[in-house]
Amino acid sequence: MMSPGSGISLDPWFDNYADRAEGLSASEVRALFAVASRPEVVSLAGGMPFVAALPFDKVRSSVDRVLSEAGATALQYGSGQGLPALRERILEIMALEGIRAGVDEVVVTTGSQQGLDLIAKLFINPGDAILAESPSYVGAMGVFRSYQARVEHVAMDEHGMIPEALVERIESLSAASVPMKFLYLIPNFHNPAGVTLSAQRRLEILDIAKAHNILVVEDNPYGLLWFDTPPPQAIRSVDDSGVIYLGSFSKTFAPGLRVGWVVAPHGIREKLVLASEAAILSPSSFSQMVLSDYFEHHDWKAQIDTFRGVYHERRDAMAQALAATLPTVSHTMPEGGFYLWLTLPEGLDSKEMLPRAITELVAYTPGTAFFANGEGHRHLRLAFCYPNPDFITEGVKRLAKVITEEIELVATFGPSTSPVRLGANLDSPPPEVS
């Protein structure tokens, strides 16, 4: 605290923060999500996987085996690149999506979020442009912003990013001499939009990126969680020199273990390992060994099938509830993953509407969370991954009431757009929110 004469600051270092800390402040919207953890509230806000579907007895047997057979190793520092045994398992998983790679090409990270952070750290200088879908993953934009990148959104439709829009954006940035460091894509069951990039567009976009010498970062946490048919093969499966691939065990196993991975071209990979060692020394040996043991001793593919079934049923429940209660509201129909993207009637603002939703005991994530440029007011993301179908139905019913009241309010006062605050993840729930 400073002396009373100059006033008291509750953070005496307030003026010392780096520019990149701008926006890391309290948020009225974010504070509302605290209510989502109450049992009365149906939270369609967060993206918590339904880990209760895991066979805990089998997980426990893996934990026990790791501790009894290799406890001293599991609780010790490990390799900065990750344990070779787990990296071998990761190759098996990626093979399901057409990716061929060697064990040494994989870098294990503390969740794929750390992989994103490392990539951003390696490539982004302040002011560099990162190309991303419109909308894009809030956690990625938070990372990009923290390295002072400018996120340039590229329009998408029900088939994912529109190649022509990408070309247009690249050309305009080139004309303005803005360095473009990479193109960030979530091709499968997009978060938040719920759409999947078509096979043809994958190739077109890759060609465009190559033609303009732009690296592609392919973030694929949901690819194995398809409902009826698998998505097209990974972009990395057709190009191993211009694509960095991010994978994760958070959705196919459990986020609590915090294990993800990066597959990157050789030169980038070497730097990723050094950067990761500088940041965290090594990813958790314990988590990696538990995962490795589980994948060795148990039927992990059957477990992924279980998750698919759970999420498929919940997607159906949400779609049916929306059709029954909000027939005039349009939304995407995801073929996998966790999220459905709503477009509200003209004049409505999902961020402005959130307090009313909390009053009605339902939570969602406002669309503004997924744009770096202040857009998204007319959209919201609904997550169907965590609540059971009955809760989803009830939550959508409550949401319908909220939207109806908001329509009435806008009819009274006219449309109102909530103030835009760009910076950190101010409009999104914290990770522990269901």
Partner: protein
């Protein structure tokens, strides 16, 4: 030596201010525990009443902000159960919670409060927004503060400079509550006066002057450490400070408050303190002005909390 009372600190709840309440509750519990009290921290839920019957805490401290915490409902139930609690009784809490009612009561004892009007959604539906807002602007001007009639932490509050701002501010406030106070904006120095009563009469803590760096003491300014500069004592003439303090005590008394409250004022250039609102369970987080004021005035904050518990135990409402 008498045994230290057992205290149940309630924090969280399902109001819009849950996040703040959780933080306040933790600070209160820590402060009480540091003074040797047996403290249990709990979120009020469907099992609460059974818990109270079973555990029979000596005192409950509902560190709950927003509806059900400050609207008097929970306190009324505690009265029915015969359980002592820290804070104002149900009726007083209900009055203070309702901003227009509190303004009217405080005005009756000679404390100025900005001109205002309280409007419901139904009024706008029936009379039409355009004509109602035009009338309001003609009467109160366009420099206004719009706030939900109930609620705290500046949630839903807007500072208005134009008719278009006013329309947007109404939408914002109505998402938090069904009635809204439109108040003439007083330009001046914002101060808050914590008042404590540990059994020997209400005592005003020296006012804290609030200077948000953004210009408005909004949610971000309240809960981002460093985003607001506090001055204690406030940079006001001694006579003005005395008036503010007196008026805070008048408001405390007029509203029938007890134990702990925070009274907020805007002091204009003439030195007139304008009552804005009273909080019967002010924020007690690391960035809250009440704890800061107690600390700056030389109080042991945890000691004050313990004394409030003792007072509640000694004289239940």
């Amino acid at each position: 030596m008498a045994a230290q009372p057992s205290v149940l600190v309630l924090s969280g709840g399902i109001s819009h201010e849950r996040d703040i309440s959780l933080k306040s509750g933790r600070k209160v519990a820590d402060g009480l525990a540091a003074h040797g009290l047996t403290v249990t921290l709990r979120d009020p839920d469907a099992g609460l009443i059974a818990y109270l019957h079973e555990e029979k805490p000596d005192v409950v401290w509902p560190v709950l902000h927003g509806a059900s915490g400050e609207d008097g409902a929970l306190r009324g139930l505690l009265d029915m159960l015969g359980i002592a609690y820290v804070g104002s009784n149900a009726d007083a809490a209900r009055l203070a919670w309702n901003k227009p009612a509190a303004k009217a009561l405080v005005e009756r004892v000679g404390v100025a409060t900005p001109d205002s009007i309280t409007l419901t959604r139904d009024a706008f539906r029936e009379l039409g927004a355009e004509s109602v807002l035009a009338t309001v602007s003609e009467s109160l001007g366009v420099a206004l503060v719009v706030k939900p009639a109930q609620g705290g932490s500046a949630q839903g509050v807007s500072w208005v400079e134009s008719t278009d701002d006013l329309r947007k501010a109404m939408v914002h406030a109505f998402t938090y509550a069904d009635s809204v106070v439109i108040e003439k904006r007083i330009v001046g120095t914002e101060v808050c006066v914590p008042i404590i009563d540990t059994g020997d009469g209400p005592r005003a803590i020296p006012p804290v002057e609030i200077e948000p760096l953004s210009g408005h003491y909004d949610f971000e300014a309240r809960y981002t450490a460093g985003a607001t500069r506090f001055y204690t004592p406030a940079r006001l003439d001694a006579a003005v400070v005395a008036t503010v303090t007196d008026h805070a005590l008048l408001a405390f008394s007029a509203l029938g408050l007890r134990h702990l409250a925070r009274i907020d004022f805007m002091v204009d250039s003439e030195g007139t303190p304008w009552f804005l609102e009273a909080s019967t369970m002010p924020g007690l987080t690391e960035t809250s002005s009440t704890a800061l004021a107690l600390d700056a005035a030389g109080f042991d904050v945890g000691g004050v909390y313990a004394a409030l518990v003792e007072s509640a135990k000694a004289s239940p409402s």
